[in-house]
Symmetry: C2
Subunit: 329 residues, 2 copies
């Protein structure tokens, strides 16, 4: 399902990142960073809410508006019952829609918001996605203090929040179209190899996006996936070629960019709902503003399992949502 | 934030209910019911996915279409990472948006779908909300086998799934408008008294809905809240009068209707994302079709905490989303 938009723009963005991301290559691009995982809060869950609030505050400051000027806030995260978003929404007090699409959350939010703005049923919307490494590790695997070893295919949940401000005013980056993904399940049960789980979902969404928009892959200066990691990235390239005969030439993956590639403590790369928008809204948007990229396809990928389902030995379903962006001429 | 719709209709619905709901007053109205909590599946989580799949199948059968005819599926539930919806979406294979708004999920889905249909960016959508008593109890409190006593203000998570089929074809029930809620937190920390937590959110959404639409409360033949329960229902009535000077005369609460009111094993009444739509799409829709109600305001209420946040002694934020329905003339 692909939506075409004529009058939707990301006017501004706000990126807030944690200590590992601060040490990464895009530190200078983030609006705000933290030295530790607590963000001045007593727990990691509350810290993640703070990241969301911060990223919305950054946006509001940049656009010179208050929360009362915002029609709608859409947000989601990885925590059980998406509480990082809920508690942030409680502080923010903006009409709120909670969403969940694991690490594909960021693009799901943009799709919902862009549809409402295109239809002029709202005048603006802030969309947020967040994740927190320690909060996610504790919930999905083990507390980080446990220090358990992990296979090298594991990805490292990014700590941060990224918000975007969407309106129909022609400024910033144009939202050209959005493709809603279909859930794929290839039978993989390895929760430490999300790249393999999610690559087929990314492939299908890219393929459907190209079919729906009648475009060739070369139309895009860059296809950027969310958090496939160094192994998942290769799987996607192979899968696209084998399954759809599409050569992903101008392609990269946020997971492989957000940290220093020589630093092995992040295993196969970054992940989490914040990973893609942190990279896209900072480094990639900068390149778009400079004219180095004109058309970019963001493909956020999400693994839709829970620890309960993994413990029940079920295979892991995944999804990918895509948003096509263009430089405003 | 209130959206007005001119061309959105719920053409059909599908309701699937569990064993306790089957013993309730609306048994004959449900499309399908189960005698036990497993629905033929090995676990409760998988059983909840089955309820969702069943409710979508019921809808598809009623409208004589296949999944390939459906543009979009929107679904949410209470399970961690909304896995009941995700695994059902994996079986169904319809482009999928996952949402989370606790027990307000049903109306959030309708709002997102109705906006897309009003804008004619999709031709149809199936919206689903589900809950499963045993899966929810295990996750939020204790496994039911533990048999822990509970305060009488506790609500009883309904088991079931309810799906609605929305298009712009004028048949069934008209979706007149939708109000997105703002998260409220009155400082209540008692996770066994959700009615008290959620009543202020319901009140604010009803009030905002009336202000935005410039209507008096008497415009509606019925205001139906989701799952406040017998105590929360009284709190809402008092709160509406004290805070907004609005007399909720033609008002009821799904929690107080879904089970036999003389049966005390459900404490203060039903709850869960399925509670409101099970009652609304069965008994209330029947009354609307017969002309007994012409205009109904559905107000789904959700408590947005998680066990983690309750354990951290945080107060519980809540939200309510409203949908106004009208009989098609």
């Amino acid at each position: 399902m692909t939506f075409q938009y004529k009058n939707v723009y990301i006017n501004e963005v706000g990126t807030v990142a944690g200590p590992y991301e601060k040490k990464g290559p895009f530190n200078s691009y983030y609006d705000k960073t933290y030295e530790n995982f607590y963000m001045g809060k007593p727990t990691w869950e509350q810290a993640e809410s703070k990241l969301i609030e911060d990223s919305v505050d950054v946006v509001l400051n940049k656009i010179g508006k208050t929360k009362f000027d915002i029609d709608l806030h859409i947000s989601g995260d990885l925590l059980n019952q998406t509480v990082a978003s809920n508690y942030a929404a409680s502080s923010l007090g903006i009409p709120f829609l909670g969403i969940y699409s694991a690490c594909a959350t960021s693009m799901e939010g943009l799709i919902i918001a862009a549809n409402m703005i295109e239809a002029k049923s709202i005048k603006n919307c802030i969309c947020t996605a967040s994740s927190h490494n320690n909060a996610a590790e504790k919930q999905f695997r083990y507390p980080v203090e446990y220090g358990g070893p992990k296979p090298k295919t594991t990805t490292f949940t990014a700590t941060g929040a990224a918000s975007s401000y969407l309106t129909y005013h022609k400024s910033g980056i144009k939202v050209d179209s959005g493709t809603v993904g279909i859930v794929k399940d290839m039978g993989i049960k390895d929760a430490y190899h999300m790249g393999a789980v999610m690559a087929p979902a990314a492939a299908e969404t890219i393929y459907r996006h190209l079919m729906d928009t009648k475009r060739e892959i070369g139309y895009y200066d860059l296809v950027l996936t969310g958090d496939l990691g160094i192994y998942g990235k290769e799987i996607l390239k192979e899968y696209m070629m084998t399954e759809y005969n599409i050569n992903l030439k101008h392609y990269d993956d946020s997971a492989c960019m957000i940290y220093d590639p020589n630093n092995k403590e992040h295993y196969a790369g970054g992940s989490g709902p914040a990973c893609l928008p942190l990279v896209a809204y900072s480094y990639i948007f900068d390149k778009m503003r400079k004219g180095e990229y004109k058309r970019v396809l963001l493909v956020a990928t999400g693994a839709l399992m829970s620890p309960s389902m993994v413990n029940q030995k079920l295979s892991i379903p995944s999804i990918a949502h895509a948003i096509s962006l263009e430089v405003v001429e």
